[in-house]
Amino acid sequence: MPGLEDLYREIILDHYRSPRNRGELPVPPAHRVEGFNPLCGDEVVLFLAVDGDTVTDVKISGQGCSISQASSSMMSAAVKGKPVAEARTLIRAFKALMSIHESKLDGDGQPEQDLGAQLEGVRLGDLEALQGVVKFPVRIKCATLAWNTLQQALDEAGVSA
């Protein structure tokens, strides 16, 4: 039986208590995308600034549980300043960490067994603390909310690289 300490790791609580990159960005040039968790009413508002191939800035507002808030905070820290391609790889790696394998459904023709190879060498760092969420299936949507919202923001920003 998984315990609370599997879910609420110290680093998660730290991001929840002191969220990184809280706030808003002027739109435009930034893109603003809202993500909702219909299960619990959690809401992530993501502001994404992209310059060329780089995610230059990310700000998060909205409200939600510790898992969705910590995941948003950790996501913002992980992708800020990174190339768009790396952000997209992180999204896939994070979803794989959450046991969500969408590669086949994305229509990109990548068989699932290649996912491991593609993601080999991708370092999730602090984000791995969220792995315990997998043991609490209802909360996976809380953890992935920010990442799905990021994916949508990247799509809307028209940066597919």
């Binding site: 039986m1 315990g3 609370l4 879910l7 609420y8 609580l13 208590r17 299960l39 619990c40 009413g41 959690d42 809401e43 409200q63 939600g64 549980c65 510790s66 898992i67 808030q69 609490f136 909360r139 809380c142």
Partner: protein, 411 residues
């Protein structure tokens, strides 16, 4: 009035003997669905073992018994809500389907573009979305009764809201706030302008004696599974003449009198609205649930829950003070034992996760009432809802578990 013997009642519910995380299960989510007593489980088991056959079809002995058991359940449910006639109880899947039935049949026939339907801010999605769907289809106008600062219906502007309205559709008891609405004045106000009254009684019928005639309602929707019965069955009550005036809902077997290549004629009510093989075992289980509730007495249940509500409100206030906000009235005459609350700085999801470690089952989220959540200005609440099998020890267990959650998330 005799107090409920909750220890004895608990023993009737096998689920309440379950242990979770090696702790006694403290079930405080009856507003979502109630637990089921042995009497209900046995009745359904007995039906499948001894009487299983389709209803209203065969002439063999077992088929007659199945039909009798099914229709006997209807009679029990009809009596329980003080219907005038068993034909006034239409079996549906749940209260949601009952409301959709009214929207699809009565409302589609009687409403035109520009007509108004009046709802309230405390409605469940089941009593909002069907009307929004109809508004999109027919161009009807939706109007909303707001809430007072005490989380009750603000009826000060009701005459204006009802002006030109064809239907008032309101919950008898909020699944979020626990607010009990006084139905009769709503019926009188609706009828005064020629509108009908639909009551979403899904939360009230399990907890409060229900008299659809004293309410003078036109449509009443409720579900079995929140009142000790099984999932998959509920009822729409309406007077026979009104039901007879409505077109059928779903088409198929059972709902017809005759079918020819060029058309069909409909069966008598209530079967006119019951296309296809119904939920027979579920009806039998619901009948047993109603008998169980009747034997205990709805007034005794209301009295017990009123006491529990007072105890829980005082307990939460004493233990948590201003750190915990309850969204609901403190007036015990105007509320049931359903409590939605918010901790300062701790999300409802996190609260319910931590209290689950203590085997305390509460609901976290928007409770299928997102418009109400927006009115309250909160993303989600934690909800603890009590029933006849809960006692003060359960309220104490909730408070202890909440204290643990608060400590866990202390900054």
């Amino acid at each position: 009035m005799k107090a409920l013997d909750v220890t004895r009642i608990k023993a009737d519910f096998p689920m309440l003997e379950r242990r979770v995380h090696d702790k006694r299960l403290v079930y405080l989510d009856s507003a979502a669905t109630s637990q089921k007593p042995l009497a209900v489980l046995d009745a359904m088991d007995d039906y499948y073992r001894q009487r299983n056959a389709n209803v209203h079809r065969g002439v063999y002995t077992v088929a007659e018994e199945a039909t009798a058991a099914f229709e006997n359940a209807r009679t029990h449910v009809a009596r329980f809500v003080h219907a005038n006639d068993t034909a006034e109880i239409v079996f549906v899947r749940n209260a949601t389907e009952a409301i959709n039935l009214v929207a699809h049949t009565w409302a589609r026939t009687n409403l035109r573009a520009g007509d108004a339907v009046v709802l309230s801010h405390l409605e469940h999605h089941a009593n909002i979305v069907p009307w929004q769907m109809l508004a999109a289809e027919l161009g009807i106008e939706l109007r909303w009764i707001p809430l007072t600062d005490d989380f009750r219906l603000d009826l000060s502007d009701l005459p204006r809201l009802l002006d030109g309205a064809k239907l008032l559709a309101v919950s008898a008891m909020s699944n979020v706030l626990g607010t009990i609405n006084d139905v009769r004045p709503l019926a009188d106000a609706a009828h005064a302008v020629g509108a009908l009254l639909l009551v979403d009684a899904c939360q009230s019928v399990p907890h409060l004696a229900c008299d659809v005639q004293a309410w003078d309602a036109d449509f009443v929707a409720f579900s079995a599974h929140k009142m000790l019965g099984p999932t998959g069955i509920g009822a729409l009550w309406a007077r026979r003449a009104l039901l007879e005036s409505m077109p059928p809902f779903l088409g198929g077997g059972e709902m017809i009198r005759d079918v020819r290549l060029d058309g069909f004629t409909t069966n008598d009510v209530p079967w006119k609205f019951e296309a296809g093989t119904p939920a027979i075992a579920e009806a039998v289980g619901w009948g047993a649930a109603v008998e169980y509730l009747h034997a205990i007495g709805m007034d005794a249940i209301r009295n017990h829950e009123r006491g529990l509500a007072g105890y829980t409100l005082a307990l939460l206030e004493e233990r948590f003070g201003d750190r915990l906000t309850i969204y609901g009235t403190h007036n015990l005459d105007a509320r049931g034992a359903t409590f939605s609350f918010l901790f300062d700085g701790i999300h409802a999801h996190d609260i319910s996760q931590v209290v689950d470690e203590e085997a305390v089952c509460v609901r976290a989220g928007h409770h299928c009432a997102k418009p109400l959540m927006r009115v309250l200005g909160v993303p989600a609440t934690t909800r603890a809802s009590f029933y006849l099998y809960n006692d003060e020890a359960d309220a104490d267990a909730l408070a202890d578990a909440l204290a643990r959650a608060e400590k866990f998330f202390a900054f």
